[in-house]
Symmetry: C2
Subunit: 208 residues, 2 copies
């Protein structure tokens, strides 16, 4: 059963981590907090206690290649985390309620730094980096697919499941942005309750 707190949106590297693992982990932490443009590859190297040469050894494509791997790794980790919450919960609305509550606790525990593993990058590269934009789209679609599948399993018709998944994910992403800006978990709890309400209404409607 997952703890109520989301881990900092990426699994910590194994102990002791390899140099490559440290680089990916540092990239993940800096990208999700500062975005793509705000994070230099030298900063990532220093944060990972690695040389710039070793960063380019593992990622010959430089910052773009590293960011691509970080987005995919963070995307898979967040998906697995959602699936762990879903497996441990009584039903889909409870899983979503727990997930938002875990996100609120993580925000508080990290001084409102750790939010979605890809949103900050997704926002700042959407209009400037088509390849990374495509990666963020694939990650979002993987989450939407899992949510929509669980909605269908909960009895919601397929044509309602997709817009519902989009709304629940938008509530989560919007809540991350508002909670980080206002430095308050109020948006996360309000949006969690709204997401749960949307799911409960759709399930109740499907039953009648």
């Amino acid at each position: 059963m997952p703890s109520a707190t989301l881990p900092p949106t990426d699994a910590p590297p194994p102990d002791p981590p390899t140099t490559r693992e440290r680089i990916v982990y540092s990239g993940a932490e800096l990208f999700r907090r500062q975005g793509y443009a705000g994070t230099g590859i030298k900063h990532i190297a220093a944060h990972a206690d690695a040389t710039l040469g070793s960063v380019y050894h593992f990622f010959p494509g430089g910052k773009d290649q590293l960011a691509d791997e970080v987005l995919r790794t963070g995307g898979s980790f967040f998906l697995a985390l959602y699936e762990a919450f879903a497996a441990a919960a009584l039903d889909l609305p409870s899983a979503v309620r727990d997930f938002f509550a875990g996100a609120a606790e993580t925000l508080q525990n990290t001084g409102y730094a750790d939010a979605c593993p890809i949103a900050t990058v997704a926002g700042d590269i959407a209009s400037t980096n088509p390849l990374l934009r495509e990666t963020t789209a694939q990650v979002f679609e993987s989450w939407l697919g899992a949510l929509a599948e669980d909605a269908v399993e909960a009895g919601i018709p397929a044509e309602r499941a997709r817009p519902l998944a989009l709304s629940v994910l938008a509530l989560l992403e919007g809540a991350f942005l508002l909670s980080r800006s206002l430095r308050s978990v109020e948006p996360m709890f309000a949006c969690g309750a709204a997401a749960v309400g949307l799911l409960e209404d759709a399930i109740a409607e499907a039953r009648t």
Copy 2:
């Protein structure tokens, strides 16, 4: 009555604009598309057809001071835009439906570049620039206040109005992020319908 399309989230400068107006307008366009870290002050000067010296003449505090003014200007403009939609609409749910539809049209008309005037900056500076974070918080609060006030006028109890305003704004911000990443207006329309549903349910509940 406002057109169905949101203007590009900032009023265009008067014609002919002053140098200062061109700088603010260019800053607004670049910041909202690329974020704070991704936008250099030299790039803003070049985009505004101004010298770097004139940027520092008008904004001795440099990029931070310019960003602060851009965030406040964009925030006021977006608030006025919402109020124009609200004044022209039959009721609050219709105003919100029209606003999301206008946002979808603006995204399409600008190649998914123009979204919320402050979200991209709000995301990339939330953990790194306390002064600008506070500015984004004030702007979000001004929007939340207007939405909550209109919800109360629509008959929704005050204690429900605030979480509802947070949810509607989070749906809009999450939809901007997802629509820009997926390059599709599907998230904007799905989230608009969800926001309208939340408002209609709260109004119906308040009546019984």
